[in-house]
Every structure is written in structure tokens, then in C-alpha cells.
């Protein structure tokens, strides 16, 4: 199993690397601005404004983790190519169980999740250290990462459901989400004067109730991960109808 996970991560490396580079490119100027706001020209010429600047920058380290999490899309791409190249057929022919073949991709996701969470944690700690302040709360970063994870795992599920043949369907969920949000805001909300304000108030109150927010997020992530994995195994074993011209030789 570990050799196969190494295989997957090695094949994803070229697409993961840019995210790491972007994070570094992002952290370097941010660090320089922070140091300048504490000890340099910004502190000298902006006075109290420097403190406000530090306030606005202190959470930026958390974005590093969120950015690296986006690299999970490489696992979705690898899933598609593994379908199309015959790799999964080879694994099936070797007697490997479907649950293990599918599980491998979700283990890849879990590894990248841990890497991105640790990256966020480290970047956050670095910025806190440079800013001379307590590091920002990583809880919100974890919530955002959890919600993103659900979407990224959905892409992997889609790959299994379509046997790698319909990568275009990956755009459906975000489009549906945006449509639903627009319908809610501009459709329903248009007829209800304070709907937008009321909705935002409810969302903010929910987000301020951190224990509830974390619990709901954790529950959603676990639920959707288990669902995605189970459905992936189901679809992996399900045969799709093969068109005559492609088919059995």
C-alpha cells in the first residue's frame, strides 16, 4: 500500500509544487511588510497605522494552508488518468479489492489535507512570531478547509462515477451552488426587503458560535467523506454501459 501511495504522490508532485511555490512567494513579501511595520519604514512613517496594518495581516498565514489544500485537485486529475490508462483494470486483475483501490485515493487526500493544515499552522505561527503577536486562531482555517475538502472529494467521486470520462461534470457543483445562492439572494431576497441583512446576521452569529461551527463542520466533513468514499466504491464496481464501437474485442 505505501508504495502505491508514494506512486500517487510522486505523480502529483508537478502539480502540487506550484502551490508550494505560490505559498513561499506569498509569505516572503508578507513577512517583509510585517517586519517593516514593526521595525522599518512603515513603522516609522505610518505610526499607529502600522499597528492597524499588522492587524489586517495577522490572519494571512491561514491562507497558506487553504492554498495548499487546493492541490488536492491533482488527486482528482490522477484519478481520471488512472481510469483512462487502464491502471485500475490492472489493479483489479491483480486481485486487489475495490475498497482498497478506491481507499488509496482518499488516503492521498488525507495526506495532502494534513500537509496543508500543517502548512497553514506553520505559516500562521511564523507570521505571529514576526508580528510579535499571538498566532491567529486556526479554527476558521480548519472550517474553510473542511468545506473545501467536501468539494474536492466530490471531484474524486465524480471521477469514479463517470470512470474518468466526464471531467466536465466537475464544474456542475460550483455552478449549482452559485445559481442557488443567486436565486436565494436575487430571487427570494428581492421580494423580502431585509432578507440579505437577515441572512448575513444569521451567518455571522453562527460563525461566532465557534464550538457549534466547529462541530457542524467536523460532522459535515466526516459525513461527506464517508459518503463520498462509499459511493466511490459502489461506482467503481458498477459497470457502465459500453458503446458498441468502443467495446469488447
Amino acid at each position: 500500500m505505501k508504495q502505491l501511495i508514494c506512486r500517487d504522490l510522486w505523480l502529483c508532485r508537478k502539480r502540487i509544487a506550484p502551490y508550494i511555490v505560490i505559498v513561499l512567494l506569498f509569505l516572503i513579501p508578507v513577512s517583509m511588510v510585517i517586519l517593516s511595520a514593526r521595525f522599518g519604514n512603515i513603522a516609522k512613517y505610518r505610526g499607529e497605522g502600522a499597528a492597524a496594518l499588522l492587524d489586517s495581516l495577522e490572519s494571512l498565514g491561514l491562507f497558506a494552508g487553504i492554498l495548499v489544500l487546493c492541490s488536492i485537485e491533482t488527486v482528482g486529475s490522477l484519478n481520471l488518468s488512472d481510469h483512462l490508462s487502464g491502471w485500475y483494470q490492472y489493479l483489479k486483475a491483480s486481485g486487489m479489492k475495490s475498497s482498497r483501490i478506491v481507499g488509496q485515493k482518499y488516503i492521498d487526500v488525507a495526506i495532502l489535507l494534513v500537509i496543508s493544515w500543517l502548512t497553514g499552522l506553520l505559516a500562521n505561527a511564523l507570521i505571529g512570531l514576526l508580528a510579535g503577536r499571538e498566532a491567529a486562531d486556526v479554527g476558521l482555517m480548519s472550517v474553510v478547509m473542511g468545506l473545501m475538502l467536501i468539494y474536492l472529494e466530490y471531484n474524486i467521486l465524480l471521477g469514479f462515477a463517470t470512470k474518468g470520462k466526464r471531467s466536465d461534470l466537475m464544474m456542475i457543483l460550483p455552478i449549482l451552488f452559485i445559481l442557488a445562492a443567486e436565486i436565494a439572494f436575487f430571487g427570494y431576497g428581492a421580494g423580502h426587503k431585509d432578507f440579505g441583512k437577515m441572512l448575513m446576521d444569521k451567518i455571522m452569529r453562527f460563525m461566532e458560535n465557534r464550538p457549534l461551527l466547529y462541530a457542524v463542520t467536523l460532522f459535515a466533513v466526516v459525513l461527506f467523506s464517508v459518503l463520498n468514499y462509499s459511493l466511490s466504491v459502489y461506482f467503481f464496481d458498477r459497470e457502465i454501459k459500453i458503446k458498441r464501437k468502443e467495446e469488447n474485442r
Binding site: Y90, A93, S94, E247
Partner: protein, 291 residues
């Protein structure tokens, strides 16, 4: 486990839209090479995919190395190596990485054997598989298949698209593989000349149905091509031949029993035939140019 046949297929049936693999049954004796012949779309890959568990048959029983795949499928497949017409390992990996990766799949993976085959095939270990030619990719697949002590090789169009030199080299490797009498090969192909060269047994399949299965030499001994004039063709009853081709100059008839045909139609020229001709006449028997 002791067994007589490396592969036993009984009434294998698989239904798709517009195509049915219909109650196919045949055996591959231990220690032999079975050539599995049919034109494109005949059902060879469906049969092989059913054997390998890539597709689930609708009906029928399959045994690999004496083990029923429904009950002991995973155990049986540990000693089966599949070779496909395209390299299933990612093009971005080199052979050394592929070897390390396969160690995680096959319990009996032998790195030394893999490296020896790579050396023998003159394949570089550090070059990406995507940069290999088609022949090199096939050799890489074969090297991998022969490196985990498999008792059964199942190949789906493994030599298609390869030049004669490479094909010959590969066929020699397969003959070597069978030397100990404990290993077996099922090889699907529509290149009948390869199978005439190497196979002990042949099975013909067409439109999802089994046509012939038996010892190659016996088939070639029994089948024959009758060549006669158009007038003599009229003496043949329909059940006397498989298919006939009429031209302006005469008729050519494929018969399944040369001896019986010679007795019934004495004086007729009956020549030996080839697997290719047998396949051609069988698959074209319903066409207008055939009778």
C-alpha cells in the same frame, strides 16, 4: 493446489447492448498455450475481462488454477499475470519506479528477476515509460508479468502493432516461460501467424459464440480447403462445408473433416489450410461473396 486445467470456463455469458457473449466454454490445460482467436468485436476482451474480474459475468463458472473465482478469486489472481495491449503504468514513471510500485502489489515480486529481464530486453531503468516505443512498453509489461512467479499469463492482444522482430522475441520468451510444464498462457490475438507458431491449443470465437476449441495441430490436420470447379461445387451438400467462396474460376470450400470429404468426394483437391483461412471463412460465411 493440484489442477489439470489452468483455466476452466463453463457457459460464460455476458450481455451488453447489441452484443452477447453467449455460453462460452473452454479449458486451457496446465502447461499449454491457448491461442484465443477472433476478429475485432468477437468477444475476446470480454472473455478475458471476465476471467480477470474486470467485468462481472452474467452467468457461468470460471476457475483459475483450479480455484473457483467466485470463492477464491483474490487468491487465484495472486498467481495470474495480465498483459494488456497498452501499458497500464503511468507514462511519467520510469522502470525502476514501476518495479518499486509493483512490489506493493505482488507478494512474490522479485526485483532481481525484473532487473534481469530489463537487462535482457535492453530497457533502461531510469527512462520514463512514456518515452518508450510501443515494443519497449510491451517488453516492460512482460518483464513485470514474469517477475512475480505467476503460474498463468493472460494476454489481450499483446503483440498487436509490434514489428515482426519484436513479436518473435516476445514469442520466444513465452516458450521459455512454459519450459517447466507448470505454467500456462492464454493469448488472445487476431494475428493468427503468431499463434500458429506458438500455440498448442486454439479457440475461435465469433460474434460472442464459440466456434472451435481444440488442439491446434489436430484442427489444422482436420480442416482443409477444397478447390474445385463450379460444376463440382454443385455436388457438395450444404452440410459438407463450413463456407465456400465462388469466383469466376472455381470454388474454394472450407471443410472441417478432410478425410471424410476425401472419401465422399474422391478425386477432389483438398489442401491443408491455415488458422487465418479458417477464421476468414468462419467469420465471412454469411456474407454475399461467400456461400
Amino acid at each position: 493446489m493440484d489442477y489439470e486445467n489452468a483455466i476452466e470456463i463453463k457457459d460464460l455469458t455476458k450481455r451488453y447492448d447489441g452484443f452477447t457473449l453467449d455460453k462460452v466454454s473452454f479449458c486451457v490445460p496446465k502447461g499449454s498455450i491457448m491461442g484465443f482467436i477472433g476478429q475485432n468485436g468477437a468477444g475476446k476482451t470480454t472473455t478475458i475481462n471476465s476471467l480477470l474480474g474486470i467485468v462481472k459475468p452474467d452467468e457461468g463458472d470460471i476457475k483459475l488454477l483450479g480455484m473457483d473465482v467466485k470463492e477464491h478469486g483474490e487468491e487465484a489472481k495472486k498467481e495470474v499475470a495480465a498483459i494488456f495491449d497498452v501499458l497500464p503504468f503511468n507514462d511519467d514513471l520510469n522502470a525502476a519506479q514501476i518495479g518499486r510500485m509493483l512490489k506493493g502489489i505482488w507478494e512474490e515480486w522479485d526485483d532481481e528477476t525484473f532487473k534481469k529481464y530489463m537487462e535482457r530486453f535492453q530497457l533502461p531503468l531510469k527512462k520514463k515509460a512514456g518515452d518508450f516505443s510501443k515494443g519497449m512498453k510491451m517488453k516492460l509489461q512482460i518483464a513485470a508479468a514474469l517477475s512475480h512467479n505467476a503460474k498463468l499469463l493472460i494476454m489481450d492482444e499483446a503483440t498487436t502493432g509490434l514489428d515482426p522482430v519484436v513479436r518473435n522475441e516476445i514469442l520466444d520468451i513465452f516458450l521459455e516461460y512454459l519450459q517447466d510444464g507448470e505454467r500456462s498462457i492464454l493469448m488472445s490475438s487476431h494475428i493468427t501467424s503468431d499463434l500458429e507458431h506458438i500455440a498448442d491449443m486454439v479457440t475461435f470465437i465469433d460474434k460472442g459464440k464459440l466456434l472451435i476449441s481444440g488442439v491446434k495441430d489436430e484442427i489444422l490436420e482436420n480442416y482443409g480447403m477444397v478447390k474445385c470447379g463450379k460444376e463440382d461445387f454443385g455436388d457438395f451438400a450444404r452440410e459438407d462445408y463450413i463456407a465456400a467462396r465462388l469466383t469466376d474460376f472455381g470454388a474454394q470450400l472450407l471443410v472441417s473433416d478432410r478425410e471424410a470429404t476425401a472419401k465422399k468426394h474422391s478425386g477432389m483437391l483438398i489442401e491443408k489450410t491455415t488458422l487465418e483461412e479458417i477464421m476468414l471463412y468462419y467469420v465471412n460465411r454469411d456474407k454475399d461473396s461467400f456461400h
